[in-house]
Structures are given as structure tokens and as C-alpha cells.
Symmetry: C2
Subunit: 218 residues, 2 copies
């Protein structure tokens, strides 16, 4: 069993490894964890002693098999709880993160396997992110950012990259939700803003929006 803090570091390293596959730097991890680089160095040493990460001074960290499995298990719990909060307890998708951050650290195998069953073994969380199964396997989504689509193309909204309250509330306000079809009508080459068609209406969105919305491809 690992501490709450250790689990949070593992999760952060897991997420950062997608952007930094050769190793996550101390500063990147410090930023992600809202802490100081020196604190990160301390923790990374402890994680290394516990065989959760591979670490060599000045060279960043990578998760070990054990570290990755642990991180995936925490992510599984986080996303299952998010589904529970939205489907059963009437939470909006921008309200779940903070509570799921707490619930993800509850230790009980039975709790999670029964929760999974109770929810009908969901494959995606409310933001469209895949939920790992009990063995840690998760579906890799065929998705690209809306900003990568060309004029004339269209697709279905399947996820968000940024899941901040502000962004999610912007989406709610403009009736952009997972499952909706979006077509690109125009693209402004100067600032990459787009005119899209959604719900039968036209909507102008900035590149900050289009570069945080995932669209199904395959």
C-alpha cells in the first residue's frame, strides 16, 4: 500500500510520460504537482527506493512496471467514481474532479469491483477518457483534436483535453457535449479560429477551444 502523496506523484508521472516519453523532468513534475523542485527530488528518491520509478540524478523519472500498474489502478478508481457522481448523484461534469481526487485513494478491492459492476462496467468517464478494466487494460481512443480537422470535414465529439471547470462550463453554455456532431464550415488562417456547425446552428470558436476538444476519427 502506498501513501496518498505517493499515489498522486505516480498519477502525475503517468500523465506527463505521454508528453515526455524519454523521462519526466523534476521541474515538469513540480509544476504538475504544484510543489517545489526540491520536494519533487525528495519524493522521487523515495519512489525509486520503493521500485515504483526508475530515477538517475539529473535525468528525470520513468515509471517502473509496478509504478505504472499502481498509477493505472488509481486512474481507474478516479474515473469510476466520476461516473458514479454524474450518473447516480447528479453531479455536473465540471463538479466531479475534486471529489474524485479524494475518492480515488480509498483502499478496497471489493469496493471498486462492485462499483464497476454497479455502474455497468463503463468504458469511458464523463469527459470521454477511457476507464481501465480490473486488469489495467484500457481502450486507446482513435481521436484527434478538433483543431486538426480541415474545412468541410466533420466528426463526433468524444472527449476533452482540458477538463477545468471553466472550459467545461463554456462547453455546457454553448451546448457542446460528448456525442455531438461538429462540422467545420470555415477556418481563419490568421488566428485558427473556426466557424462550426453544431445542433443545426453556426458557432464561432477560438483555437483555444478547438485545440482542447477531441473528435472521433476511425
Amino acid at each position: 500500500m502506498f501513501s496518498l502523496s505517493e499515489e498522486n506523484y505516480l498519477k502525475a508521472i503517468f500523465h506527463l510520460e505521454r508528453s515526455f516519453p524519454t523521462g519526466v523532468s523534476t521541474n515538469a513534475l513540480a509544476e504538475e504537482m504544484n510543489t517545489k523542485a526540491s520536494s519533487v527530488t525528495d519524493m522521487v528518491k523515495r519512489l525509486s527506493e520503493k521500485k515504483l520509478v526508475n530515477y538517475k540524478k539529473y535525468q528525470g523519472v520513468k515509471l517502473s512496471k509496478l509504478g505504472r500498474d499502481t498509477a493505472v489502478e488509481v486512474i481507474r478508481k478516479h474515473r469510476l467514481w466520476e461516473v458514479f457522481l454524474v450518473e447516480k448523484l447528479n453531479f455536473a461534469w465540471d463538479e466531479v474532479h475534486e471529489v474524485a481526487e479524494q475518492l480515488e485513494h480509498i483502499k478496497s478491492e471489493k469496493l471498486i469491483s462492485e462499483l464497476d459492476k454497479f455502474l455497468g462496467f463503463p468504458k469511458k468517464d464523463p469527459h470521454g477518457d477511457p476507464i481501465p478494466d480490473a486488469k489495467g487494460n484500457m481502450v486507446i481512443a482513435n481521436k484527434i483534436l478538433l483543431s486538426e480537422l480541415q474545412v468541410g470535414e466533420s466528426g463526433i465529439c468524444v472527449g476533452v483535453k482540458d477538463s477545468s471547470t471553466e472550459f467545461l462550463q463554456y462547453l455546457d453554455k454553448n451546448d457542446i457535449a460528448l456525442g455531438k456532431t461538429i462540422s467545420i464550415l470555415e477556418k481563419e488562417s490568421f488566428d485558427q479560429s473556426m466557424l462550426i456547425k453544431l445542433n443545426g446552428k453556426e458557432l464561432k470558436i477560438s483555437s483555444l477551444i478547438s485545440s482542447n476538444l477531441y473528435i472521433k476519427t476511425s
Copy 2:
């Protein structure tokens, strides 16, 4: 917001105050918390600085209004989660305690109010203990121990005093459950063991059993 450890101390003091209404001693609290008296003294000083308890050296502690309200809120959360685990996630009544001990510390008002609603505002937990409402009010049960009944009397089982796994599994094995009617057929004055009628059958139980089962009176 209080720490996990502080909340656990408040809960322990709350429970011990029933047996020691004039003040909970350091040693009693140390035993309840499975810790050392010196650790208790330290913690009690911190709780006192935070106005959660009234404490004078060598005289034990009592909860303040704030301390009692906090303890009751934690107990409310614990018991609601127990109901959730049993009713929704197929936990047996002897399996819920450990997990509820973790879940009771999750901080989110909305989570608890929605969970309460989702469960249909239950008044009792799976062991028959009353669940405080959002304002901290809880039903005081009219109940006595089975051991206090006389030969010829009968009543309905409404709760357990001991909720250890061992005791609960003993009850399961003998088909003793909340809501069942029990009649006293004989009482052995030597060891206080009883012959009871339950489910149309006769059963011999020791005083250890009868002094841990609550029976409805009113």
C-alpha cells in the same frame, strides 16, 4: 476542515462520552484509538487549541459544541456509506466497517447530501444505528439489551452493540437479523444464558450474545 486523525479522535471521544459523561480519560481514549497515552495528550492539546474539546490537565476531555457537531457529521457520513455499501454494492454487514472508516473522511457537502437522497434518506445503518440528518439530529432509539428481558417477554431485534466481524457472522450463521422477533423461553440464573425462540425454532445463546443485541421496547 480537520485532519483525518483529528476527526477520528473526535469520533472516539463522542462514543466514549456515553460511558464517561463526566469526561473521557486519556487512557480510555488511548485504548479506543490503539495508541499511547502520550500521543493522546499531544492530540488532545491540539484539539483543545482548535476549540474542539474542553480539556484541563489530568481531568479528561469533553467535546465542545463544535467538536460534537463535527463528530456527528463524521458519524453521519460513516453510516450513510455503510448503507450504500450494503444496499447498492452487495457488501455483507460485517464487511462495511473498514471501508466506511475511509469513506467517512471524504470532504464534500454535495456528495453527502446527494448520497443521502440517492439512498432515500435512511434512518438506520445496517447495524441498526441511527443516521443523523443533515442538521445533526438523530432518532434516539427505544431499545434495551436482550439480556435485560425477562422469561416470557419478547421483542424485535433492532441493533447490535458489538459490530465486530466475529459477532455479526455468528448472528448470520444463526439466522439472527434485524427485524426478527425473539422470545425468551428460559433463562439460566447461573451464567445468564438463555433459551430463545426465533424463526419458529429454539436456540440456546450465551450472555455474551444477549448482552450485545438490542431489542425494541416502545
